[in-house]
Symmetry: C2
């Protein structure tokens, strides 16, 4: 799965360059602020050229979304022949936030995107449901592995939804919570502080044997937003 490498000007086909440049610009400036003319100008190609390769802007977005979908589905392919352990959980969390970071524009103006493209809406809905199911399965398998207490299905579903809400909206929170007007000033590391929030959610369900480890893991992602979290603390180290 080659993706998210930045400079491969001469080597790539125009079509792929368009997709890549669009993703970059969308992520940096928001889809709303990036026009097809901008994309073309950024690549030093003509608008006509761009529209030769894509019928319209929605098609570009849709194709990028499909890449994202594939990536996350790949990450969230839960093995069902064995229980999950703490390393698995860490991997899932890290992976999901990596994916979120690479395609972060998608979650920014999602509602408008879905309003303007029905395909995207139905696909995204299915995608959400797959993710929710995957999260729930992760909880289940973590319980099998003795990491978390086993929970009734209904509770797992509600918890999964909470995890989903936190994961998909942590970035938006960061952007709105930052005082700086430049919303580009966010790092992957900051984004991953969302893991701290997810782990906060899980704390009460962690089995005593793993409590200490989970708390240590969680501490690694501790946010350092001075205003609300009390004392700022060094992160990751």
């Amino acid at each position: 799965m080659s993706s998210t490498t930045t400079n491969a000007d001469e080597l790539m086909k125009t079509r792929d360059k368009i997709l890549l440049a669009s993703l970059e610009l969308f992520n940096e400036q928001g889809e709303r602020n990036v026009t097809t003319n901008h994309i073309a100008a950024h690549l030093a190609i003509s608008p006509g050229n761009l529209y030769y390769h894509f019928r319209n802007k929605s098609d570009i977005i849709y194709e990028i979304f499909q890449e994202y979908e594939k990536l996350v589905d790949y990450y969230l392919d839960i093995p069902d022949n064995r229980p999950l352990n703490l390393d698995d959980m860490t991997f899932y969390l890290e992976s999901v936030f990596d994916g979120l970071w690479s395609y972060r524009f998608l979650h920014r103006d999602l509602e408008n995107l879905l309003d303007r493209d029905q395909r995207l809406r139905t696909d995204y809905q299915r995608f959400t449901n797959r993710c929710l199911a995957a999260i729930s399965r992760i909880f289940e398998k973590l319980a099998d592995g003795g990491v978390l207490e086993p929970q009734p299905e209904a509770l797992r579903a509600a918890m999964s939804l909470n995890v989903w809400l936190i994961v998909t909206n942590w970035m938006a929170f960061l952007k709105t919570a930052h005082a700086e007007k430049t919303s580009a000033c966010m790092t992957l590391r900051e984004l991953k502080q969302g893991i701290y929030q997810v782990l906060t959610l899980e704390i009460p369900y962690v089995m005593p044997a793993y409590r200490e480890q989970v708390m240590e893991l969680r501490e690694k992602y501790r946010p350092m937003i001075p205003e609300q979290t009390g004392e700022p603390v060094d992160v990751v180290g």
Copy 2:
């Protein structure tokens, strides 16, 4: 605090009519899809008239935000001379979601709004911090009231943030999860299913004496989204 009443054509001043109509249209169609010309047309006044009362669109939005801020601050004025009980908690949850509903357009395209108006950005940031502090104080006072287990401050802060994320993004989730393209098709009742999600978060911290009551309360807000929550269930009754 009079607000969100619909028809008061002859009685109101043009300025207030503009604010009210803007709020309505923004909520129904999204700020992005409502132009100043639309607002004027909706009120059967001229664009010039609108711009006589407001310098620009941002000023309209900013003023509406200030109303919202006032409303929520009013709701979240936590008494500090007594502990809180379950009724208090219900009131806070209901009130917050009511406010969210009345000004729901604000949380839809928030990032773009903040990008385009620095006043709004700083105000919103302070607002967020006030809300987080209020949520944390509610947890604290609920512990004082014996409803929740007492928690260390750091955990309360992280939990408050999770509650904030769930509350402010529940609506966006509903809109994206619904298959229908018309994002207007959402009801206050559906929105309040977010309370179910918030209560899910609190479950592990509820003191045994209140567990049953909280679970009953929670059941009243149970979502009935067929696809992912398993069996659809009748709500509120």
